[in-house]
């Protein structure tokens, strides 16, 4: 494999990994507060459509990303209303939100652009090369010549890590995810913390979706999230609920998705579908292999009612 091919592979790996990283980092914060948001997929697809429509309406990809974030946050709000507000089961609520999100975006898209829609052409998020860093041989262009959302992801990791482990707010968040009763007794507003964490996760997933539409594909297609929300949840496990490790795990998965180019370049000729299935199989294998080495927040997915 030539250097050019390897560089292309790495660029693809990062490009495919960024949406995972964004969504997974958001979900890390959400899960650290004790909430598992299976509806993440719904936030991503909402962000993709929201990003697309926003970019068209405001004639700019940047505002498109903001719209995507808002859309993702809105879906997160619906999830929070039921799972946190009403205390409904988080798994089922999340499943419903995903089904609804995929359906709603599909319906809106079909309604506006017709069932056999002509491909939207959207204002795209052009890659921005960072001087000097992007010149580094091999990895430079892969890591530092990406869309701005990628840089946002890189920055988010240490920021999230710092917030989580070094600030009083992060301590409260972690306490909420480990022992909400104790947090409440210490004066923490558990449901508010969880709501904020969930909205943050939704917004990040929305940005991930917007990245998919505006930086990656350059268009919107129904169900274009293709299960990235679910893989993101697995990435959170693999990254041990640590934002920095989660970033790396996500990039690793981007590499797995990009593998089809790598293997084709090496001369393997497997069916296209097997390549498509590969990331999911790899996620399963990774989950199986990593077991026992990390521990979820103790109160994750458990319903909690405040005293009153």
């Amino acid at each position: 494999m030539s250097q050019v091919e390897l560089t292309l592979f790495l660029e693809s790996a990062v490009r495919l990994g960024i949406p995972l990283a964004l969504a997974a980092m958001g979900e890390t914060i959400t899960e650290r507060s004790g909430v598992i948001n299976i509806g993440l997929e719904g936030s991503i697809i909402a962000g993709a459509l929201g990003g697309a429509l926003g970019a068209l309406a405001f004639e700019g990809a940047g505002l498109g990303v903001m719209s995507g974030a808002m859309a993702g946050m809105l879906v997160g709000l619906v999830f929070a209303a039921f799972a946190i507000g009403l205390g409904a089961d988080q798994i089922i609520t999340g499943t419903a939100v995903t089904i609804g999100g995929l359906g709603m975006t599909g319906a809106i898209y079909q309604a506006r652009f017709g069932a056999t829609g002509t491909e939207l052409s959207l204002p795209t998020l052009a890659p921005v090369a960072i001087p000097v860093l992007s010149e580094i041989p091999l990895v430079g262009s892969a890591l530092f010549a990406q869309a701005p959302t990628a840089y946002f992801a890189y920055l988010m990791a240490p920021i999230a890590w710092y917030l989580l482990f070094k600030t009083a707010w992060g301590l409260e968040l972690r306490a909420t995810g480990e022992a909400p009763a104790a947090a409440e007794a210490a004066g923490v507003r558990v449901r508010l913390v969880r709501l904020v964490a969930t909205l943050f996760g939704g917004a990040m997933a929305g940005i991930a979706g917007a990245h998919l539409a505006l930086a990656h594909a350059g268009t919107f297609a129904e169900n274009m999230s293709a299960g990235k929300g679910f893989i993101a949840i697995a990435v959170v496990v693999l990254g041990r609920w640590n934002p920095i490790l989660v970033l790396f795990a996500a990039l690793f998965f981007g590499a797995a998705s990009a593998l089809q180019f790598f293997l084709q370049a090496l001369g393997f000729d497997l069916a296209y579908q097997i390549f498509l299935a590969f990331p999911y199989v790899l996620t399963l294998a990774a989950l199986a292999g990593w077991v026992g080495k990390s521990r979820a927040p103790a109160a994750l997915a458990l319903p909690w009612e405040p005293h009153r």
Binding site: T93, G100, G106, Q273, L276
Partner: protein, 355 residues
Amino acid sequence: MSAGIAPARAREAALLGLGAVTLTLGAGSVLLLLGGYDPAAAGAAMLRGSVGSWNTFVSITLVRSVPLLFAGLAVALAFRAGVWNIGAEGQLYAGAVGGVWVALTFTGLPSPLLVPAVLVASGLAGGLWALVPTLMRLRLGIGEVITTILMNFVGIYMAAWMVHGPLQEQRGVFPQTDRIIEAARLPALIPGTRLHIGFGLALVIAAVLAVMLRRSRFGFQIRAVGASPEAAAVAGRINPARVVFISFLASGAIAGLAGGAEVSGLTYALYEDLSDGWGYTAIAVALLGGLRPGGVVVTAIFFGALQAGAGAMQRDAGIPAAWVDVVEALVILAVLGLDRVRAARAATSTVEGGA
């Protein structure tokens, strides 16, 4: 931790279901209005497309409800045992692949042997598809929500690969299998209609599950483990792992039958995108049916009507077919919401925080 909602007494479950449907109709209408559509026209089109005539009802609605019925029963059984089987979609595809493979391979067998063979194969394949998540949960303690969802994707691509490759039709033009021979096809349940005996089989399975859960020892163990694995183990000396193992695989097998019955009863071939998200719809079907086999039969037909009417809705009222997914989501949320209301009212006689 039991799966999500506590299936209340039958009467409560029915009330909850009706309430959820009413709420959904209301919320759905509001959303339609916001989108500039006419809810009344939508409703009328939907009714016409689903129950407008006897033929429509039998040959479209009931036919559409068959895979939902199988998958809904699969999901209900799993949830009752405390197993989050979100993987009915993948298990369904696995079942379809298994069934169609037998149908295409053992063409020498006479119909009375081939038809059951096809169905058994699809059940086995579905059960096998559930094996990986089952083992990951029992041996490695990995939650089955994510693993079953991941297996869905693997299942869909596996089936796609099959019809592009090993099982592709002779002339190799389209990504689909050859049509299966007459002897492998499910006969019609009502002659002259498209309704095949798969529907009857599903009803039989529903009856068996109902009796099992209510009356058999194993059914009791399933309910106990689903409600409280700790109490089942300590007070009942039941082995939760064994119960989970059997229920999970059985659930996969029944979901596999959904695929097998569809392929051998309706389409007579396998192609990509066989399922329209039935595995996920099944979750709404199971929940709305209160996780009871009898309820699932009713709700599967209801959702069959929804899906049947969706096409008419799109043609006549211009509403995109994806709208049905939104309705499903609303149904699930409505059931959850109402269940919380029920739980809040039931928490009457327990004293909190007092010693």
